[in-house]
């Protein structure tokens, strides 16, 4: 009935909902205790999150090379754990000259009732998990960096770009941006003078930006800086990318699509 829903179902939502439902059913029939079910759900969530995080970090890092003069450096989650053991970290930091991109990936699926129905309470709870808690994490990392740097040589950053990537899609737009700004101000989150407006991106938007970066047209930071300077930080990234660049897909995705097509051919008994 709907080509978009069909692909959405087979390439994503079926895995999520069928496995969740299976765990719920096992709990319901007593095959799993509540703690076992919670553990299974947690493990499943962590697993999905880890895969999404790796995918997004690969996209953003792209062909990034650390240069010997320390003009470009990057740290992923594991490296940050080594520098700041036991403390709050994020998933990726890229330092380029005197700018810093701080990225956190969240895979919290907005509950179906919130995403599609009328469950306002559910939406608010989802936002607390998917946005506020992650912003607190980014805020802690950025405050620490502003105070003591990351590694030598220590850089005084002119601009820091906090980015939250929601692997499960998040409705980012000017109104939600405005609402989040009000909330962050109230909570004192990400208010440091060198911190640029917080932005939430979908994986699709990261892909689009990665495609632009890959072509050498811009960097993630320069796109975000352009948005900031033109007062467009609240716009969906998709607007920025389609208005200014019009490139939609990075090589990582194209190549993977090619491999998927090859597999589809192989799976046919008539040779495709």
């Amino acid at each position: 009935m709907n080509p978009a829903f069909l692909l959405e179902r087979v390439c994503g939502s079926a895995q999520l909902w069928e496995v969740r439902e299976a765990i719920n059913q096992r709990q319901g029939t007593g095959e799993m205790s509540q703690s076992e079910a919670n553990k299974a759900r947690g493990g499943f969530g962590k697993y999905r999150g880890a895969v999404a995080e790796k995918y997004v970090v690969d996209l953003i890092k792209g062909d990034l090379r650390v240069d010997p003069n320390h003009r470009v450096r990057s740290w992923d989650g594991e490296e940050m754990e080594g520098i700041w053991p036991g403390q709050s970290i994020c998933d990726l930091i890229i330092e380029r000259n005197r700018t810093l991109l701080a990225v956190e990936v969240v895979s919290h699926a907005m509950r179906e009732t919130a995403a599609s129905g009328g469950d306002f309470e559910g939406l608010a709870k989802d936002l607390q998990i998917a946005v506020i808690e992650k912003a607190e994490q980014l805020d802690a990392v950025i405050s620490r960096i502003n105070k003591g740097g990351i590694q030598e040589p220590r850089i005084e950053y002119e601009a820091i770009y906090p980015v939250l990537v929601n692997a499960m899609r998040f409705p980012w737009n000017a109104l939600i941006d405005q609402a989040i700004r009000v909330k962050f101000k109230e909570l004192g989150l990400l208010q440091q003078p060198n911190v640029r407006p917080f932005v939430i991106m979908s994986v699709e938007e990261v892909e689009a930006l990665a495609a632009v970066v890959e072509c050498g047209l811009a960097t993630f930071e320069s796109v975000l800086e352009d948005r900031f300077r033109h007062g467009r930080s609240g716009e969906p990234i998709q607007w920025t990318v389609s208005r200014g660049y019009g490139i939609s897909r990075p090589t990582i995705v194209n190549d993977a699509f090619g491999r998927a097509a090859d597999a589809l051919i192989e799976w046919r008994t008539d040779g495709g």
Partner: protein
């Protein structure tokens, strides 16, 4: 005059499922197009490298290269490069392809025909000196209402009369075809709008539609409204029509247009609760609900992303992936790969046959067991009655609005 009289469509017309040009890889284009394409005169013969492509559905084999630019785009879509040929510029074919290719690949409105000036970056990337804004997010579109287009509104009585004129499944197929037509490059795309305006309206209604298009408005409903028409049909349609022979596609379109008038943008009412004291709650929900529809639909990206994540899962998290796969198989009786294969083959079959009706027999061409295939099919399909029953619960729970969980869950009848 009955509403159907304002609107026309050819019954045999089948939907264009998607535009292949959307999925073109920049690097492929960059490597396949030689510099002659962008030389100042822009009249040189085109020569591009050739690599035989085997699409899963053999799209390429069925078309002559000079017959349709879709053939070439299909080749690009499936990861291959354009076949070598010369002289195509002269018959106008290449101009079309190149515009499409270049626009989609990020080189904007650049074509040998217009000879727009370009700058070559050190990496080989060709950048036009003047950028042309591409498609703006769909939410920015203004839609003409049914009242404005046809001078009438869809009453409940008229809606019911339409529903009774056709068998439910015929109307479902017609509404599905409309949805599929709205998904190509984007339903606000001018070409899509022009084409549908030409085919869906007649007489004064067509003139009005054209006028609205000239003003920058959109005359065709958005996919979410067409989905709502589908819901209405599933919930209230009849098995045995009282009057046959009417054009079900025209009537499905009328239903969608009528519904569009009922579902405008949410407006805050006085005293309404505000989300974080900033925006009216209804607007927040409206934006949330609409967002997934208004984002772009790029099938190759959806498939590529899924595949890449699966590769990462298997390579970097093998133990967790094995546990997850076992759980999935236990829960569903099939594997993720079988599910993907079935869904993708349905999708590509739609592309190839340009039809929303797909034969179950298609699956016998896959090397998986019947049981696995059936179980995979169950994960995406249900009977019309089952879907209607679930829809009723959903509508009761969330209201009619923009809730489409059931249709997301079962996208195949």
């Amino acid at each position: 005059m009955p509403l159907g009289g304002h609107c026309t469509t050819t019954k045999k017309q089948t939907p264009k499922i998607l535009t292949l040009g959307r999925a073109i890889s920049f690097r492929q284009v960059r490597s396949s197009l030689n510099t002659s394409l962008l030389s100042p005169s822009c009249v040189s013969p085109i020569r591009v490298t050739h690599e035989v492509v085997r699409s899963p559905l053999e799209v390429a084999k069925r078309h002559d290269p000079l017959e349709s630019n879709k053939w070439v785009l299909a080749r690009l879509y499936f990861g291959a490069e354009i076949e070598s040929y010369e002289g195509a510029v002269t018959d106008g074919f290449w101009n079309e392809v190149s515009v499409d290719v270049l626009v989609q690949s990020g080189a904007f409105q650049l074509s040998p025909a217009t000879a727009m000036r370009v700058t070559r970056l050190p990496g080989g990337l060709l950048i036009p000196e003047k950028n042309v804004p591409q498609q703006i997010l769909d939410t920015s579109a203004q839609y003409a209402t049914m009242q404005e287009l046809l001078g009438v509104s869809l009453t409940v009585g008229e809606r019911d009369r339409i529903l009774k004129r056709h068998a439910r499944l015929d109307l479902v197929a017609a509404a599905s075809a409309l949805i599929a037509e709205l998904y190509p490059v984007g339903h606000t795309d001018e070409e899509v709008q022009e084409s549908l305006a030409d085919r869906k309206f007649v007489g004064e209604a067509r003139d009005r539609a054209k006028k609205f298009l000239e003003l920058g408005h959109r005359v065709i409903v958005s996919p979410q409204v067409a989905l709502n028409a589908l819901k209405v049909i599933l919930l209230n349609g009849v098995e045995d029509p009282i009057e046959d022979g009417r054009d079900s596609q025209a009537d499905a379109f009328i239903l969608a247009l009528g519904l569009a008038d009922f579902h405008g943008m949410a407006r805050a009412t006085e005293g309404e609760d505000r989300w974080w004291d900033v925006m009216p709650m209804s607007t927040a929900m409206e934006l949330t609900r609409n967002h997934s529809f208004n984002s772009s639909f790029d099938p190759a990206a959806i498939i590529g992303r899924w595949w890449r994540m699966r590769e990462i899962a298997q390579k970097d998290f093998p133990a967790e992936t094995a546990t997850f796969d076992d759980l999935f198989r236990e829960a569903t009786g099939t594997s993720l790969e079988v599910l993907f294969s079935v869904g993708a083959h349905f999708f590509f079959q739609m592309l190839e046959s340009q039809s929303v009706a797909i034969s179950r027999g298609l699956l016998s061409q896959l090397e998986f067991s019947e049981e696995e295939l059936d179980n995979a099919l169950k994960l995406m399909s249900a009977t019309a009655d089952t879907i209607a029953a679930d829809l009723e619960i959903e509508v009761e729970t969330f209201g009619f609005g923009w809730s489409f969980n059931t249709l997301r869950r079962f996208s195949v009848i």
